[in-house]
């Protein structure tokens, strides 16, 4: 029994963290807010350290790694609020590897030449669909299509987190775009949804840590009535409560990564637990970090909002708490069948 990332996995996570510390600053995040697409030259740089091809099979020039490494790296991406669609691209890559390995997309994703995005059944919007080179779409009736975004009608939306470039996607399924249907497609879509939920959980862990760090730093330097606000127990306890949530969410997310990487029978339930725990940690982190900052945290000018808004968006994306609680309950109490392709 061993619940810890391997040295290689930790190294990967830290390499990405260091890279993003230098290359995904909050000024750059604000630039992503202002741009039409959040995808920048950073995507190519991430490719060089293996990140964009993390789950791409080795035959297609990827690293061929698993959900364990993916979640380790996504934690670092969450810490930086990386605006590129790393998770969506990994979910798309998983489906492409299974049903369209020879289409050439995987090599390009691994090389950082292409951006892929995904739209699963029940998901209302795709991220970066306009900037993506390829879109993998799962339909309500369980088909998987590989689509050129230029052939779709995209209706751009405005997320509270302006770096999430969302659009509604209308497309006409055609025999040329269809890559899978039937039980194999349904199972793959369910697994893709689980990868998405796990990835969101990992991103939320990183976001939680970032907001906690910001609030701790602020509490150590803000003085009121002649004392540092961090000496007040009410402030201390707000932050201690966030750390408790975070420290208990992390092993839950790690276990889900372990289960999903091995396709264990409990994987879906484990992933749902991960999303619930990480979502709650991030929710509390956002609220308490805002409270500790006072009015300055309530401004657009302060960087806290960049992380809070991402946390809110991700809390609801890939299945909200209600959806995942229902899945766990159905599994534990056995009185309702777990939906195979979840509704988001």
């Amino acid at each position: 029994m061993r619940l810890a990332f391997t040295e290689d996995q930790q190294l990967f996570r830290e390499t990405v963290r260091d890279f993003l510390d230098a290359n995904c600053t909050t000024e750059q995040l604000r630039a992503a807010w202002a741009a039409d697409s959040a995808v920048s030259a950073r995507w190519g740089e991430l490719a060089k350290i293996g990140v964009t091809g993390l789950v791409v099979p080795e035959e297609q020039d990827g690293l061929g790694l698993t959900d364990e490494e993916l979640s380790a790296v996504l934690e670092s991406a969450g810490y930086a609020a990386l605006p590129e669609p790393l998770l969506e691209s990994a979910v798309a890559a998983g489906l492409l590897a299974e049903f369209a390995p020879d289409a050439g997309w995987l090599e390009r994703i691994a090389a950082g030449d292409a951006v892929a995005s995904v739209l699963l059944p029940g998901q209302p919007f795709a991220i970066e669909a306009a900037a993506a080179d390829v879109l993998v779409i799962g339909t309500e009736d369980g088909e998987i299509h590989v689509v050129n975004p230029a052939d779709c009608t995209l209706t751009a939306q405005r997320s509270v987190d302006r770096s999430r470039k969302l659009s509604a996607v209308a497309f006409t399924p055609a025999p040329e775009t269809l890559v899978a249907s039937g039980p194999a497609a349904a199972a793959a879509l369910a697994r893709a949804a689980d990868r998405g939920a796990l990835g969101a959980a990992a991103l939320l862990l990183g976001l939680t840590r970032r907001m906690l760090d910001m609030a701790v730093e602020y509490a150590k330097q803000r003085v009121q009535r002649g004392v540092l606000i961090g000496t007040h127990q009410s402030v201390q306890h707000h932050l201690a409560n966030v750390l408790i949530k975070l420290e208990f969410a992390r092993p839950v997310v790690m276990r889900a990564a372990y289960s999903l990487a091995r396709d264990l029978p409990s994987a879906a339930r484990d992933v749902s637990m991960a999303k619930i725990y990480a979502g709650e940690a991030a929710d509390l982190a956002a609220r308490n970090a805002l409270q500790v900052h006072g009015a300055i945290g309530y401004t657009e000018e302060h960087d806290l909002q960049l992380f809070m808004k991402r946390a809110w968006a991700l809390g609801a994306a890939w299945g909200d708490a209600g959806h995942h609680r229902a899945r766990v309950a159905a599994d534990l109490l056995g009185d309702a069948p777990a939906p195979l392709t979840p509704a988001f």
């Binding site: 061993r2 701790v216 201390q236 208990f248 839950v252 766990v328 109490l333």
Partner: protein, 388 residues
Amino acid sequence: MDLEFSPKEQEFRQEVRSWLAANVPATPLPSMDTEEGFRLHQEWEKKLFDARWAVVSWPKAYGGREAGLTEWLIFEEEYYRAGAPGRVSQNGIFLFAPTVFEFGSKEQQDRYLPKMASGEEIWVQGWSEPEAGSDLANVRSRADRDDERGGWVLNGQKIWSSRGTYGHRLFGLFRTDPESKRHHGLTYFMVDLASAGVTVRPIPQLDGEPGFAEVFLDDVFVPDADVLGGPGEGWKIMIATTGSERGLNLRSPGRFLAPADRLLELYKERGNGDQVLRDAAVQAWMDAEAYRLFTFGTVTKLLDGGQIGADSSINKVFWSQMDVELHATALKLLGGYGELDEGSPDAVDGARWLDGFLFALGGPIYAGTNEIQRNTIAERILGLPRAK
């Protein structure tokens, strides 16, 4: 990561499981906080000890099996799953023993540990005093040097000592340097509660039973042989004991997994499709599972040569809150039957949920209150400036 148990560990689990299946009393023992119950729990400890299940992680020489941490976790899971009796010796074997192994002399280890493991001597924790609760450094009970007899004369008062009513020996802090302040000048003593000058006054707890006691010391002589570590080293050694209490030892995941599983059963029987209670029951189960995973992480860290340290405060807040929520949910599921105490003809399961609820309510208070734990987390882990 590797979340499987090895074949050897699985074999160990089977062995524990079959022994428990054959030996756990069919009807629950009376409460250990009654005279008869205390004695029966001691007998149960003896039975465990004779089969070498009392202290699985201890050295073989003292009746253990030298089980590793993972095996200890397995043992605990099986123990509570089997519905085996609560451990009347727990404050000795789980909290005090690690300190005796670390700081005690060989002579002290030989003298205390075997009887502690067999349940013959039940140890009682003597930290708190009327003026020293959260502020433990305010200990006033004192010990004066008696060179003639080669020991110390103890005077003062301890309070809230769990199992003090029927227990045999107390470990606690006493001030040996009358000039000293706060955590200086304190010494760690072990006191035979049958000594002349000791008066024990039982205190009924929330459940009406004398689960803890007040201990008055009036010129109680304690020989040098019953001092742990050197004079003045008490605080440092005490920190080691309370670390075990909050850290891994006192509340193994097994203690919560078993009631969490039973809670789901209770929901299936009595939930009537109530969505609020359904969510609460599932939350309790998930928390028990999260606690198990968190503990796996802690065990991994320890096996890699790391230490627990202030992290134990994170642990303590979580399990104590979880325990309260779990039992509160059970009582809600019982509806009008929830208030029925032991002895009511219609009490469900011998009123064990109510008993568990009342027990759980102490968790946020003992072993350092949860407010104190949050102070520790904020200052020692997050590095916030010290509260004034």
